[in-house]
Amino acid sequence: MTSAIAVDRLEVIFDRFRALKGVSLDVQPGESFGLVGESGSGKSTLLRAIAGLAPVASGSITVNGKTLGTRRDKAFYREVQMIFQDPYGSLHPRQTVDRLLQEPLAIHGFADGERRIERALDEVGLGNGFRFRYAHQLSGGQRQRVAIARALILEPSILLLDEPTSALDASVQAEVLNLLEEVRRRRKLTFLMVSHDLAIITHMCERLMVMQGGEAVENLVANDLVERRVTKDYTRNLLRASDGFVRTASEQV
């Protein structure tokens, strides 16, 4: 079976800084794959390189069997859509939700826009009442729903998710994560998801890769984290950090 996403020894260099130092990755169709690490580990850069938003120096990226060049064609963007961290920054402030959703349809020449917009809004639980609102009239969670609707409207097979819930409150985060799981199940999507939160990644993904300083530290399945079967100190540190603050004996006064 061809992989949905196959990345081979990818290097990304910004000026002289090597952000990615030969990272390889393989995601099967329908799989949900997580990337974990601290800021500066290169996890977002990897995602952006796949979307064509980072300067690739060497290595190859293959999506659904097609090896990508520096210029991506329209068909690529129909297949692969990205959802960003900050829903406040990723929606045009002077366009209504309706206009926002029409844009990708116009670019790709879809005819039945009306019906698709209605369906997309319905699918993310917003309903038609939100259609003619502006981004500033929506809450953070609603904005992220619009961003998801905009990504889904082209019926992609792969979603790239860059910290999709880290700007949201805990209760809203739960709603958005549930929505993402639901659309993935319904549309048999492939997810590549970046997060610094191990708990979110184990909840959402079957397999994951831990990254540090532009390199892959460890490849794990979600269950390894649950049973704490990790081999690298770095991953262990991340795991400990997700348990919350623990007062050591010397700190107790």
Binding site: Q173, T202, L238, F245, R247, E251
Partner: protein, 281 residues
């Protein structure tokens, strides 16, 4: 200084109101609590009024807002009754505050060392040489490895974790008795987060300070603080000991605890909060 055991801060029926085009909006609606020399957590989601509560105590509420309280005292001083001048003398000296992102709360065009020295010399009469010595000692106390080097760096030259340590150093140098930390670690990486919390925890305990820790992260707060106040829509819905969080009664607290994904708990879909209008009543 008052007795080590006494209450440091008393808040009774605190209200903060903002005038808007569509009428008055009450961000904080009758919050009451008291703080001793302990770690108190205030938890809530965005818009719950937790930050405005902290800002009102600090005296940083925007001028157009109205504050009222039947009691707002710090060590016996009526915070609403004193002159702005006296309030300013308290701020940074006896009451300190740490904000979320060191990128915005440090002066970008001043070296870290100079900022710390400036804080110290605003509140105490010390010579330049002594001030420098004390600033370096303070940088060492927040576990900065090479204080002499960091002293001369500007905020853009240091990482977020280092910046937040410098911020803590700056806030602690005048020896405050109470510290308000508003999401002090939300902008930091998880691993750095714990280091910074560890430093904060040790310094607060050593100096016997009172700490108000404001955060949206219920789990983090409960692992760090002695007592937790949960706020919803400008009101306190529940007050409890951090160790008894698992026995929380209010459906909002329980919902907040429940809706976070946990390693090892296989729950699909995640339980979501079903907000009841009577919680805000």
């Amino acid at each position: 200084m008052s007795g080590q055991t006494g209450t440091l801060l008393e808040v009774d029926d605190l209200r903060v109101t903002f005038p808007t085009r569509t009428g008055m909006i009450e961000a904080v609606r009758g919050v009451s609590f008291s703080l001793g020399r302990e770690r108190l957590g205030i938890v809530g989601e965005s818009g719950s009024g937790k930050s405005q509560t902290g800002r009102a105590i600090m005296g940083l509420t925007p001028p157009q807002a109205r504050i009222s309280a039947s009691k707002l005292t710090f060590d016996g001083i009526d915070l609403l009754g004193v002159s702005p001048r006296q309030r300013r003398a308290l701020r940074g000296n006896r009451i300190a505050m740490i904000l979320q992102d060191p990128k915005y709360s440090l002066d970008p065009v001043m070296s870290i060392g100079r900022q710390i020295v400036e804080t110290l010399r605003t509140h105490e009469k010390v010579g330049k040489v002594e001030a420098r010595e004390r600033a370096l000692a303070m940088l060492e106390a927040v576990q900065i490895r090479d204080p002499k080097r960091v002293f001369d760096l500007h905020p853009h030259e240091v990482s977020g974790g280092m910046g937040q340590r410098a911020m803590i150093a700056m806030m602690l140098i005048a020896g405050p008795e109470m510290m308000i930390a508003d999401e002090p670690t939300s902008a930091l990486d998880v691993t750095v987060q714990l280091d910074v919390l560890g430093i904060l925890d040790r310094l607060v305990a050593e100096r016997g300070m009172g700490l108000i820790f404001i955060s949206h992260d219920l789990r983090l707060v409960s692992s760090f603080c002695d007592r937790v106040i949960v706020m919803y829509a400008g009101k306190v819905v529940e007050q409890l000991k951090a160790s008894e969080l698992s026995q929380a009664r209010h459906p909002y607290t329980r919902g907040l605890l429940n809706c976070m994904p946990k390693i090892g708990a296989d729950r699909h879909p995640l339980p979501v909060l079903d907000r009841k209008p009577e919680w805000a009543a």
